[in-house]
Each structure stands twice: as structure tokens, then as C-alpha cells.
Amino acid sequence: MADKTEVWLGTLSLMVLRILVTMGPQHGYGLARRIEQISGDQLSLNYGTLYPALLKLEQEGAITSEWGVSDNNRKAKFYRLTRTGRRQLERQTHDWHQATAIVARFLSPSEEG
């Protein structure tokens, strides 16, 4: 289980990118809520886990951030997808599908017979 954080970070950034592309710019709190909602509350995120993923994406240039005002009039930092991010999402989605397909073949019982 030593690698759990790394794997987690990888899939987490995929989720972040996906949410940003479907729902547009979001602040950190909103992102955490959405991920929890979409996962059907099976994932519970605290910000200490989400922040490194956001930072990494920003440092790689996949997302940018700027200060704005939230729905209930709070000052908040909004994250927005860039063109690089969009390309990264496409690539990672493809990679993810491929990876799961391969793993699925190994796990599928029908191949054994």
C-alpha cells in the first residue's frame, strides 16, 4: 500500500480535470464537494489531499487560478482549465481506459477456460 498516495494523486488529478471540463471554473472547496458528490460520498476528501494535486496541475500548466467571488459572496480562488490541461485530460482519459481494459482482461474469469 506504500504507493497508494501516488496512484491516488494520479487519479485525483484526472477527476479534477474532468470536473473542470464539464462544470467550468471551480474553487477548491467546490471541487472537493463535487468529487464527494460524484463518488456517491464513497470518497471523503480533506483539503490537505486535494491541494497537492491542484498545485501539481498548476505547476505543470494544466490549470490556472485567479481570485474571484463565490455564489454566496465569499472571496475564493477559482481554478480554470487551460489548453494544455484539455490535451492532458484527453491523453489521460485514453491512458486510463487502456489501463483499465488491460487489467480487466486479467481479472475476467472467462479467459481462463
Binding site: 501539481k56 505547476q59 475564493a76
Partner: protein, 884 residues
Amino acid sequence: MPKLRRLWMRLRATIGSGHCGRDFGDELESILQMHVDDNLHRGMTPEEARRQAHIRLGGVEQVQQVARDRRGLPWLEVFGRDLRYAARTLLRTPGFAAVAMLVMAIGIGASVSLFTVIHSVLLRPLPFPHPDRLVAIYSQDAVWSHNTVAPGDFYDWQNASHGYEQMAIWRWTGFNMSASDEQFPEFLNAGTCSWNLFSTLGISPVLGRSFKPADDNPGAARSAILSWALFERRFNHSPAVLGNTIRLNGQLYTVVGVLPDWFRYPNPKIQLWVPWQIEIPREVQWSHYDHIGYVVGRLKPGIQSTVAIQELSAAQHQIYLRLNGTGPVKQGAVATPLLEDMVGEVKTPLYVLLSAVVCLLLIACLNLSNLLVARSAARRREMAIRTALGSSRLCLIRQQLTESLLICLGGGIVGLLFATVGTHWLTTHWEGLPRAYSVRLNSMAVAFALGITATAGVLAGLLPAISASGGSVLSALQENSRGIGGSASRTSMRKALLTGEVALTVVLLVAAGLLFRSFLRLRAVDLGCTTKNVLTMNYFLRGDKYSKPEQIVNFDTELLEKVRQIPGVKAGLTNVVPGDGYYGDHEFWVPEHPPQPLGEHHFAAYRTADPDYFSTLQIPLVRGRFFSENERLEHDKYAIVNQEFVRQSFPEEDPIGKHLRVEWRTQQGENYEIIGVVRDTSYQIDRSARPMMWFPILAGIPGNSADSVLVIRSAKDVMSLATPIQKVIGSLDPDLPVKNILTMDQIVGESTANSSFTATLVLSFAGLSLLLAAVGLYGVLSYLVTQRTPEIGMRMALGAERKRVLRLMLLDGLRPALVGLALGMAASVAITRLIRSVLYGTSPLDATVFILVILTLLLASTAACLVPAWRAARIDPMRALRSE
């Protein structure tokens, strides 16, 4: 790419971290607020809402820590912090920092300079294609291991060898270039080479063409290839010179090519090249006796030089067997890599200097180490407190290393500046340093500087860092700042460092002493003639104007007459003055002696003189007489020899009235009567006397008597006579250039310049290290005295005499010096034999030098220890005890 971008962002975040941290705090705060709002919405009480939000966030501090680590580059931040801390510490003691940096700068600067010179001169390959395949080839016999090659041998080698792609021969020559277009007449150093010298080296002219086989032929039209320097200086860069003629020694030569700017082989002094067979006298062309040429060969790919030279040597031995007895023929051939051949002479001096410089750098490191140990002793409590607060040992070592690295980095930057100046100084002041033109401070040198800076920093910092961070925290914290003991180990470490420093200093002092003594010996060499107030100048009578003996003699006679009209002037003529080199020798027989055995040949240095030459240079007559005014032209069959000549050829006879047989005018030779014997003079300052024979210069034989040195002695400043005498020469022949206008002192100075150069440099390095060692001794003992003040006070209170205290402290300080001295002496005995080859008339174990070094070191270290010891002896016991 994303990875790189990320690194860049993190780097930026690290540098401007203040702003980012604040930004993150704000974001965290806003998220917390939104969470609280949400919770309130769900109907929690304000306190509960806040508490829940904090729980979900997962601890503000932890999140911030994660963010900090991910945002920037933590190791860089730590390094930056260390750096800031070290800089602050250094700035608190700017004097210490400046001195330490200066010492390192001198060490690093000197090392980088020397490395640059060694890299450019000794290590960098020659600028020709496949330079490793180029060799210099010499002929060889029992007496001479590397003798120049006879043209006949060379042509036979070309036919016999299979190991070389090409082989070329060349020699120095010189031309008088006539005055033209407002340009002065000028003597040009030149080379004459077989047509294929340039293709052997693998280069071709930038303008025009190279020589062709047809050019290198006694009957061919005269052609010349210019060096870039001459092309630029004399022909103004104009390509129109190609195909035009220039007048050299009165003959017309067609310019066929111009060499590249960078081509400096074998020496940048060579201004132009002419084909070999045009320049070399016809009777020498196929000779196996006249050893006059330098041979360069290019090995075929894959052929070993040792194999190729074996074949040549065998061919030469065949020639020897065939011709032995008919004349002086060499027995074999040897090859040296061309680079080695060019720079071999300066190898030892350069490595001696480099070792001296590395010694100096080591001493500087030890010194810095010593100073840092002293400082770390003072900061022991600080270290202990930091350890107590949870700082790891590695952290403390890193911190200390950063400090010494910072000092060395400062030293390295200043040192690099020193190195630029030093390298320039070295190449411009080192007479005859081969390839000096190619020495440049390049990226290799900068890399080297960085390397030694880092090494020096670690070397100097590691020991103090380890010693400072070890040991018990508790005892350090409990330790009274002025307590007795506790720092004993640190003091012994400083003493050990000092011992090393003193030992290295002793080695340097011994080497410097030996070199300097050797230089003094050289300076004291008696040339055998006067060197005070003597001016010399050369001229060469060539071309149609001087093709007959009468023409040469007329010029010389008129010149001497006119010069002697200047009041208070004595003047004479010769071909080579003492101390200016061996030049050529000539074979001779003594007809009165029984015929020589087969294969035995006698040679003596060939010299010419006019009747007044010997008295002008005050060379004393031992027996017989000098030449007289009527011994000229055909009436010239008289000779004068030196004492060494008599010692070798007439050991038990009176040479006066005997004859020398030489082949000058005819193949059969003529007899010259010996009329006088003069005292020995040295042809080169560091060589012993060789047999010499003088013939009348007023014989006027073209080729033999046409190279002249005018020697002038006067009671007053002779240099002021240079211009009037040049005007006299100009009035006799406006096209005749005069060269090498030098006083005898300058000629002697030039030949001792290298020796004085090395000696002075090493001596100054040694002096500097002595100073460093003395300062180190002084520092350690001062520190020791402060440490032991209470103890000394106690001793005195119990009745110790001041004299005893003085002696105690003095001995304590001197002990590392004495141990270092002994170690250094032992090392010197082992090491000095390595510099034997650069010493003149001085044994590597010269007692005087060793004793002087011991005395100097004892004196310096006693002086350094005396002040603190004296201070210890003057301690007032009452105050010392009260201060406890």
C-alpha cells in the same frame, strides 16, 4: 516538458516564497469560511460549524506544511537558509572573512593560472589533423642522442621507410628584406623546408598554394610562402601579393601562398618559408656529414612509432656501415612525438611550479581549516544549544561546510580574476615558453577553478565541522566559557593542522632555496669576458652586393673605421659572442698528428674574429698573439684556439706553430697555422667550455665570414651609441638591416631569465606560505594562552617564575613547528631529486639550503610564538584567578 516547467515553477516559488505563502493562507482561510457557511446552512451552531470545518480540513498546520514542501524545493530552501546564515556569520567578522577569502583567492588564482598554462602548452594536442601521428625524427650516435639530420640521410630515409605517410625536413634561415615603399629594410627569421612540410603537418595555405615538388629543386624558380603575420604587417592584407615578387638577400622570390593566421609551427618568429633545395648549398644537398635539418614525419594510420623508427634506424645503420671512415656519419635514428619535442623542455619547470602552487593551495586550505576550528571552538555552546533543540549532526556539519564553501567561493571568484592577470603575466614574462600564443583562460580553466574551489571548501570545512559537531551536548552546555580542559581535543587538532602546514612550508622553502641557489650560481658564472658596457648588433651580408670576398671585407673595414672614430669606443667583429649559444661547429685535422683511426672525428665550435675582437671583449691571451691587420682575404691562413681546444687536441704539446686542416675553400682542405691561445669562454651560461677555433673574419669568405656581430665597448652608456652606429651602417648600405641590438648583460640576462623566473615565483610562494604558517602558529598559541590563563595564574600564585612560564608556553607553541620541520625535511629529501634536472651546479641535498631553511623556519616560528608566550608570562596571578 511539464516536468521542466514544474521544476521552474517550484524554483520561482522558492525564490519568491513570501508572496506564495500568504496567497495560500488566504485560500485556506476562504475554504474554511465556505465550509463554515455550509455547516451553518445545515443548522449547526456557529462553534460547532467551525469545529467541524477544522476537522474536515485536516489540521491547518499540517496542510500548510504539505503545501510548503510541494510548492517549492525544500532542499533548495534549506541550502538558501544555510547560505544566508553563513553569510550573516561571515559578515559579523568581515576582517576574518576578507583575509580568509584573499588567502584562498591567491591559492586558487595561482593554481588556475598554472593549470591553464599546462593545459594549453603541454596537454592540448597540436592544431593539426591526427596530431598523435606526427613525430620529430633525429639522428643519433654514441655521443649525441638527438642530433639534427643530414640531408642525404633524410632522402635515404624517405626511400627506405614504409611506416610514414610523409616525411619533411626544415631548418632555420634568415633573409635581409630590402627597403621598399617607405618600409625599412628588415631582417626576417625564416624557414626553409622540403616541399611537403605543410602536407605532412596536414595544413594548406589560406591564400594561394603550397609548395610543389617542382619548386623544391636547385634549378627551380624561387618561390616563397608568407606567414599571416608578415602578410598582414608588410603587405597590408592585400591578396595582390600572390604571384608578385619580393626581394630577399637581393634575389627575387615569387610569393605563391599565405599560411593561416593560427599556424605557428615551429615558432611564431618564422616569417616566411622557402623551398629546401633552393636555400641549401648544393654541396650539402646530398651530404651525409652535415647535420643541419629537423625532420617531421607523419606515421601511417595504425603504425606504431617504435616500429617505424626501427626500420629507419636500421636504414641509417646501413648508411653508417657504408660510409664510415669517409666522414662523420650518424649510427641510428630516434623519434619523439612532435608535441613532446616542442614542449619537452618546459615540462619539468611547469610541473615544479604547479606542485608549488598546489602546496600553496593546500597550505591555504589548512590555514582556513585552522581558523574555522578556532571559530567553532568559540561557537561550541551555540552548537550544543542547537543540538539540544533538535538539530541533527548532519545539519550542523552541512551548516559549517556551507560557511567554508562560501569563503572558498568568494576566494574562487576573486581567484579567477587573479588567474586572468596571472596567466597573462606568465605568458608575457616567460621568455621562450613554447606555444605561449595558444594560452588562454578557457572553459576548461573555469571548470577547473570550480572543481578546486569545491574541493578546497570541503577539504577546509570538513574537519572543523566534524570536530565541532561531535561530543557531548551536556558537557558543552555545562562548560564554563573560560573553563580548563574541554577543548583539549580541539587544540590538538589545530596543532596537527599546523604541523601539516609547517611541513608543506618547509618543502616549499627547500625547493625555492634550491632553485634560487641554482639561479645565483648561474648568475655568478664567469663567461670568460667582460659584460659591462658592451653593445652588440648583428648584420648578415648576403646577395649579389656581397658575393665576393673583397666586397665583404670592404664593408667590414669601412664600418670598423667609422665606428672607431667615435671617441672612447673600442670595436671588434665576430660571428657569435660568448653566452649567445653554440651555433655551428666544424671538423678539423691536425696535419702534424698521426692519421686518425677510422670513424674518429674532431670538431670544434666555429668562430671568426677581427684583430681587435678579443681586446674589445677583454678575453685574455694565454700564449702567442691575436690576428693582425694584414691577415685578410687570401692571406688568412691563421687560427686562434681556446684552452679547452689545447686540452683536448694538444695535451702535451705547444700548439703554437701547429696547423689546423679544414675544408673551406676546397675539397682537399687548407692548413691554418695556430698563432694564439685565448682563455676559455662559455658559449652558453650553464654549459661547460667546449673546444673553439677562431679564423680571420676579414678573410671575407661568403657564407663563412658574412655573418657578423659588431661588438662595441665604451666607458659610458653604450645603449646611447646604438642609433649613431645604426646610422653609420645605413650610410654604408641603406638596404642592410641590423638586428638583435643587445648589451652583453641583456644576452646573459636572457639565458638566465627562465631560471630566475622559476626561482622567483617559487620563492614568493614559499614566502607566502611561511607567512601563513607563522600567522597560524601565532593564532593557535594566542588562543592557548587565553585558554590557560587561569591555570597559569594558579601556577604563578604557587610560585612559578615568569621565565619558566615563558619557556613553557614557547615550547608548547614550538612543538608543532618542530614536528612539522622534521616531517618537512624528510619529505624534502625524498622530493627534491625530482627537480634535479632544473638545478644548475646545486645538489638536491645542498646543505646550505637545508640549514638556511631550518634557521628561517625556527626564526619565523619563534617570532610568531614569542608574543603570546610573553603575554602569558606577564599575566597578573591575582587578576587571572579573580576572573575565574
